[in-house]
């Protein structure tokens, strides 16, 4: 191949030829790496319109299914939609976040991660890119789900402030579960395995107060349902949307979400340094 560069050195060359002064790779400052990785994840996201469409269509389908199929059986008067919307929001957030595990895991199997790991970058910056973009996508999907819910009869009693608080809680929950899925993506041996682990987490909302009140569950299951992280988050959202009593759910939900973010971020950064080198 002919290169279009002009080299001033003659082709004849010895191994000991004096090298011209070489530049060192500059250290990058601030959050440049994180911003670059957000752009990267965003571009990847937009390149896959089918996945993007699924991320919105599937939650809406779930929502319609619960309202019209199960909802009619559980509460023939049609009031179930008011009960189920918070659960659907979390179910969809979990679904959307689980795709993060797959994209992180896919990233790990390609050589580009090795390149990043041989550059002076904050470990975890790549993950941050995936997580932030996933949070944005999930918040969009959440907005669409709520919009459709309003169309099919969801009648929240929330004030503007309640809505704001609700979105805050949802965003925090999405951030937590997305970070967790990103770490799972790092830990999994393949994108397929990552997908599988994600499936387990997606079942958590069913064993919570998302779809039926905890009181209706068998005695042995009830404590699990009451004390797993999803129930307080759902109760908090429900309280903001339809005015059910909040109790201590708000603080417990906040603690769970922050705890998960912290654990997943530390675990993820550790995994990234230690384990991302596999092929």
């Amino acid at each position: 191949m002919t290169t279009t560069t002009t080299t001033t050195t003659p082709p004849a060359r010895t191994a000991t030829a004096a090298a011209p002064p070489r530049a060192l790779r500059p250290r990058i400052r601030g959050t440049v790496a994180e911003r670059v990785f957000v752009t990267r994840s965003l571009l990847q996201e937009l390149r896959d319109p089918e996945a993007l469409l699924m991320a919105v269509v599937l939650p809406v389908m779930l929502m319609l299914m619960f309202t019209f199929i199960f909802g009619q059986a559980i509460d023939p008067s049609g009031g179930y939609v008011d009960y189920v919307v918070p659960g659907i929001i979390l179910l969809c957030a979990g679904f959307g976040a689980s795709s993060t595990a797959v994209s992180v895991s896919r990233d790990m199997t390609t050589g580009i991660i090795e390149r990043f790991r041989t550059m002076p970058l904050r470990s975890g910056a790549v993950l941050t890119g995936h997580v932030i973009v996933s949070v944005i996508r999930n918040l969009l999907a959440t907005a669409v789900v709520i919009g459709v819910a309003l169309l099919v009869g969801f009648r929240p009693s929330a004030t503007a402030l309640d809505w704001l608080a609700m979105f805050g809680v949802v965003a925090l929950y999405i951030l937590a579960i997305t970070y967790l899925f990103a770490a799972i993506g790092l830990a999994a041996s393949s994108p397929e395995a990552a997908n599988g682990y994600g499936f387990i987490l997606l079942f958590l909302p069913y064993v919570s107060s998302a779809f039926v009140p905890v009181e209706t569950m068998p005695d042995w299951l009830r404590p699990i349902a009451e004390h797993q992280p999803i129930t307080p988050v759902i109760e908090t959202i429900r309280s903001f949307l339809v005015g059910t009593p909040l109790g201590s759910s708000g603080w417990i939900a906040l603690a769970w979400c922050l705890g998960i973010v912290l654990v997943a971020a530390v675990w993820g950064a550790w995994l990234f340094r230690r384990k991302a080198g596999r092929r």
């Binding site: 191994a15 000991t16 790779r25 500059p26 440049v32 050589g111 390149r115 990043f116």
Partner: protein
């Protein structure tokens, strides 16, 4: 001689497998250094240690004065790695890949775009600049991969089997690029399992076998290790009947031919004599065969130019 890469006594064990068993390296600044070895010899592990991806169990290594163990961040500022699996983002276009790497290497947007345009031109990828990399051919991916390593002119470039899986034309194109980089002063450390690649490209070659450097030197030095010309006898179908290594002197060649003439093989109808120079294959086989195959060991001894075997 100024050294870009220095390693002493590198050891690495994965479970019960000892991949590196005390590896020593000295790579002169501005040279092309080839680490040659069969699959599983520890080439990728060596690159991993030198590029801070893998931590050695024992031993020390420096890259342009920075210690891989105590100052990995400083090492990372001095190197670029083009790995075995193409280190490109298939979802992005060629230009997006280059701008991303430029930004991550500390260039601002404008500089990164300018650098990307220059590299695309240099690597003849302008026509494909806005195509997604997943649609690229193997040769194009490898060229982009290499160009990503060049967004900053770092002193040392690591190439892990840069031409594996490429067709002949793409391989030669890459060789030309790698050589031009070394001409411009970059130290190139590459691994390969192709003898021809090491022969054609490298200033110095180290043969890695069972986790240690079995031999090191220029291609000519390594060939001298095996000795001079081989005298071979082939039958009418061209199948090898016998091969005698020599030191290349007239006396030795005549002796070898006489020996073949006297043997009953010389009487095979249509048998023909040929003389060939030793190839790097001969060296490689001699060194990595594990034992000491008669002819090569004998010829190496006769050549009197044994390189130090560690």
């Amino acid at each position: 001689m100024e050294l870009a890469i220095q390693a002493r006594g590198l050891r690495k064990r994965y479970g019960s497998t000892e991949v590196l068993a005390g590896l020593d390296l000295a790579v002169p600044t501005g040279s092309i250094f080839a680490l040659l070895g069969p699959n599983g010899a520890g080439k990728t592990t060596t690159i991993g240690i030198l590029t801070t991806l893998v931590r050695a169990d024992a031993g020390e290594a420096t890259v342009v004065g920075a210690d891989v163990r105590t100052a990995p961040g400083e090492v990372q500022r001095r190197i670029a790695l083009t790995g075995q699996s193409a280190a490109v983002d298939g979802e992005l276009t060629a230009i997006e890949n280059l701008v991303m790497l430029g930004r991550l290497s500390g260039l601002d947007r404008r500089q990164a775009r300018a650098k990307a345009a220059g590299l695309l031109a240099r690597f003849e990828l302008e026509g494909a600049a806005k195509r997604r990399v997943s649609t690229f051919s193997g040769g194009m991916r490898r060229r982009l991969d290499l160009s990503l390593s060049l967004v900053v002119d770092v002193p040392v470039l690591f190439l892990d089997e840069p031409t594996t899986g490429l067709d002949t034309r793409s391989r030669q194109e890459l060789w030309a690029i790698i050589r031009s980089l070394a001409d411009a002063g970059t130290t190139v450390f590459l691994t390969t399992q192709y003898l021809e690649e090491a022969d054609r490209l490298a200033d110095r070659i180290a043969v890695l076998d069972h986790g240690v450097i079995a031999a090191e030197g220029t291609a000519a030095e390594l060939k001298a290790r095996v000795g001079g010309e081989f005298v071979e006898l082939r039958d009418a179908d061209g199948d090898l009947l016998r091969e005698i290594p020599t030191d290349g002197s007239v006396h030795a060649l005549r002796g070898a031919i006489d020996e073949l003439d006297r043997s009953e093989l010389g009487a095979v109808p249509g048998a023909r004599i040929g003389i060939r120079r030793p190839s790097l294959d001969d060296v490689f086989l001699a060194i990595t065969a594990g034992g000491t195959p008669g002819r090569t060991a004998a010829s190496a001894a006769r050549s009197g130019e044994l390189l130090e075997t560690k």
